[in-house]
C-alpha cells in the first residue's frame, strides 16, 4: 500500500491505496465521487475526464499514486454544495446536451478546460476538434457543440447562459 495526500475538489484528502489503483477507481470507489464514469478500457472515450492541476486528463489512464501531492477537480467540484449549476452545466441542461448522461461529466470537464485554454468565443470547428477524445453514443454531438458554445460565452465575466 502507498500513502497519498492530494486535494480533491478543494478538500485535503489522505488515503492508503494499492499502487495499481487508477485515479478514477480511487475517486469512485474510495471517495465515492461517482460522477466520473468509465466508458472504455482503451483510454479513448473521455467519460472519466477530470482536471489534474487545472488540466483535463483521463483519470482511467492516471494512477492515483501519480496524483499524490496534486490537485484534482471532478464534476462534483464544479458546483459545490449543490448550489447553482456551473455555467457549462447550465448550458448542457438548457441546450439538451445530453440524453443518457453517461458521457456528460467528461464532456463538461473537457469543455471547461477548453474554455480555460481557448477563451469564450469558440467556433463550431474548434469545439468539434477539441472533442476528439470524448465519445457520446446518444446525442450525435449537435447539441453538445451548441451547449459548449453557449457555456463558453456564459463563463465570460458578466456572461449569462
Amino acid at each position: 500500500m502507498a500513502k497519498i495526500s492530494l486535494t480533491v475538489n478543494g478538500r485535503a484528502v489522505t488515503a492508503n491505496v494499492d499502487p495499481r489503483t487508477l485515479l478514477v477507481q480511487f475517486l469512485r470507489e474510495q471517495l465515492r465521487l461517482t460522477g466520473s464514469h468509465v466508458g472504455c478500457d482503451t483510454s479513448q472515450c473521455g467519460a472519466c475526464v477530470v482536471h489534474l492541476d487545472g488540466k483535463a486528463v483521463k483519470s482511467c489512464t492516471t494512477l492515483a499514486v501519480m496524483a499524490d501531492g496534486h490537485e484534482v477537480v471532478t464534476i462534483e467540484g464544479l458546483a459545490p454544495d449543490g448550489a447553482a449549476l456551473h455555467p457549462m452545466q447550465q448550458a448542457f441542461y438548457e441546450h439538451h446536451g445530453l440524453q443518457c448522461g453517461y458521457c456528460t461529466p467528461g464532456m463538461i470537464m473537457t469543455a471547461v478546460d477548453l474554455v480555460q485554454r481557448k477563451g469564450h468565443e469558440l467556433s463550431e470547428q474548434t469545439i468539434r476538434d477539441e472533442l476528439e477524445g470524448n465519445l457520446c453514443r446518444c446525442t450525435g454531438y449537435q447539441n453538445i457543440v451548441m451547449a459548449i458554445a453557449a457555456g463558453a460565452k456564459a463563463m465570460a465575466p458578466g456572461g449569462a447562459a
Partner: protein, 282 residues
C-alpha cells in the same frame, strides 16, 4: 492490472539506479501507452519508476543552434511552446495533432520515442530532423536509435533525458489520421537542412519509421514538389492491415510527401538569419 511497486525518484540518477537495481522495472512518464498496456495485462512490470516528478526533465530551450526538448515535456507543452513555434513550427504543429487534448496533457516526447510505436508521430520528426537522443548513459543519433517495431537502442535501465534538434531551414509534417485512433495511418516529415534534405515516414513501415531515400535524392537537387513528379513508392515492406493495404499506404506516402514539401516551401527560410556571433572565435 497486476500489482507492482511504485517509486518516485527526484533525479535522473536515482531513477537510473532504481531501474538497474530492480529487474524488469520500467520507467513511466505520461503513462498513456504503458498504463493501457498494463490494463490489458500485456505488460506486468513489478516496479514502476515515475519520471514525472524529476525537476527540469520537461525543460524546453534553445542551446546554441539546436532546440532542446526535455524528455518529460508533454505534447501540449511542445505544441504551446513559443520557443518550439519559433524554432521548428512543424514540430509544434505535429505535437498539437497527437491524440486528443487529454492525451496531450499527459503524454511525453520521451515516452513516445522510447515506445517507438510504428504509427506514432514524433519518430518521423526526430528521424527527419536528424536529432540526437540524449540518455542517462550516452548520446544516440536518430538513425541508430529506432530499431524496428516498438524497439529502440535503449538498454532496459537507460532513460532518455532530452532530445537535441538541429534547426532545419524549412520543415513540415503531413499526417493522414486514422479517424478512429488518431494515430498516423501515414505521416511524412520533410526537413530541408543546411546541408541536405531528409524525409521520414511513419505509420507505413512494417519495421516502423524509415527514411524515404528516393524522395531525399530528388529533393536534394532542388527543394520543390515538382521534383517528386516521378516519385514511385513501392508497396514492399509496408504494413497491410484492416486500416489499409500496403498499396494504399504507398500511394499515401507519395501524396503526403508532396503536400509536406509544398507546406515547407510556403514557410520563410530559417537558420539563414542566425547571428554570426554564435560562430566560435579563433
Amino acid at each position: 492490472m497486476y500489482p507492482f511497486k511504485y517509486h518516485r525518484p527526484a533525479t535522473v540518477r536515482q531513477a537510473a539506479n532504481l531501474l538497474a537495481k530492480h529487474e524488469e522495472a520500467r520507467p513511466i512518464a505520461g503513462g498513456h501507452t504503458l498504463l493501457p498496456v498494463m490494463k490489458q495485462r500485456l505488460a506486468a512490470p513489478p516496479h514502476l519508476v515515475d519520471l514525472s516528478h524529476i525537476e527540469g526533465l520537461g525543460e524546453i530551450a534553445m542551446q546554441g543552434r539546436a532546440l532542446m526538448i526535455g524528455a518529460a515535456a508533454t505534447h501540449a507543452e511542445v505544441a504551446g511552446s513559443a520557443t518550439v513555434q519559433a524554432a521548428i513550427p512543424a514540430l509544434a504543429e505535429l505535437a498539437a495533432e497527437i491524440g486528443d487534448p487529454a492525451v496531450r496533457h499527459r503524454g511525453t516526447i520521451g515516452g513516445s520515442l522510447a515506445n517507438n510505436d510504428p504509427a506514432a508521430d514524433y519518430p518521423a520528426a526526430v528521424l527527419a530532423l536528424g536529432a540526437t537522443i540524449v540518455t542517462s548513459k550516452r548520446r544516440l543519433k536518430a538513425d541508430q536509435f529506432f530499431q524496428g517495431l516498438f524497439t529502440t537502442a535503449l538498454d532496459p535501465d537507460e532513460i532518455i533525458t532530452k532530445i537535441m534538434l538541429p534547426l532545419p531551414k524549412k520543415a513540415a509534417y503531413c499526417k493522414f489520421r486514422n479517424p478512429a485512433s488518431r494515430y498516423a495511418l501515414v505521416g511524412v516529415f520533410v526537413a530541408k537542412r543546411p546541408g541536405d534534405v531528409r524525409v521520414a515516414v511513419t505509420g507505413a513501415g512494417a519495421d516502423g519509421v524509415f527514411r524515404l531515400s528516393a524522395a531525399e535524392a530528388a529533393l536534394q537537387k532542388r527543394f520543390h514538389s515538382k521534383m517528386l513528379g516521378g516519385l514511385h513508392v513501392a508497396a514492399d515492406g509496408l504494413t497491410s492491415d484492416l486500416h489499409g493495404s500496403a498499396a494504399y499506404r504507398a500511394h499515401l506516402i507519395a501524396v503526403l510527401t508532396r503536400r509536406a514539401v509544398e507546406a515547407a516551401q510556403a514557410r520563410p527560410d530559417k537558420v539563414a538569419a542566425q547571428p554570426a556571433a554564435l560562430e566560435p572565435v579563433s
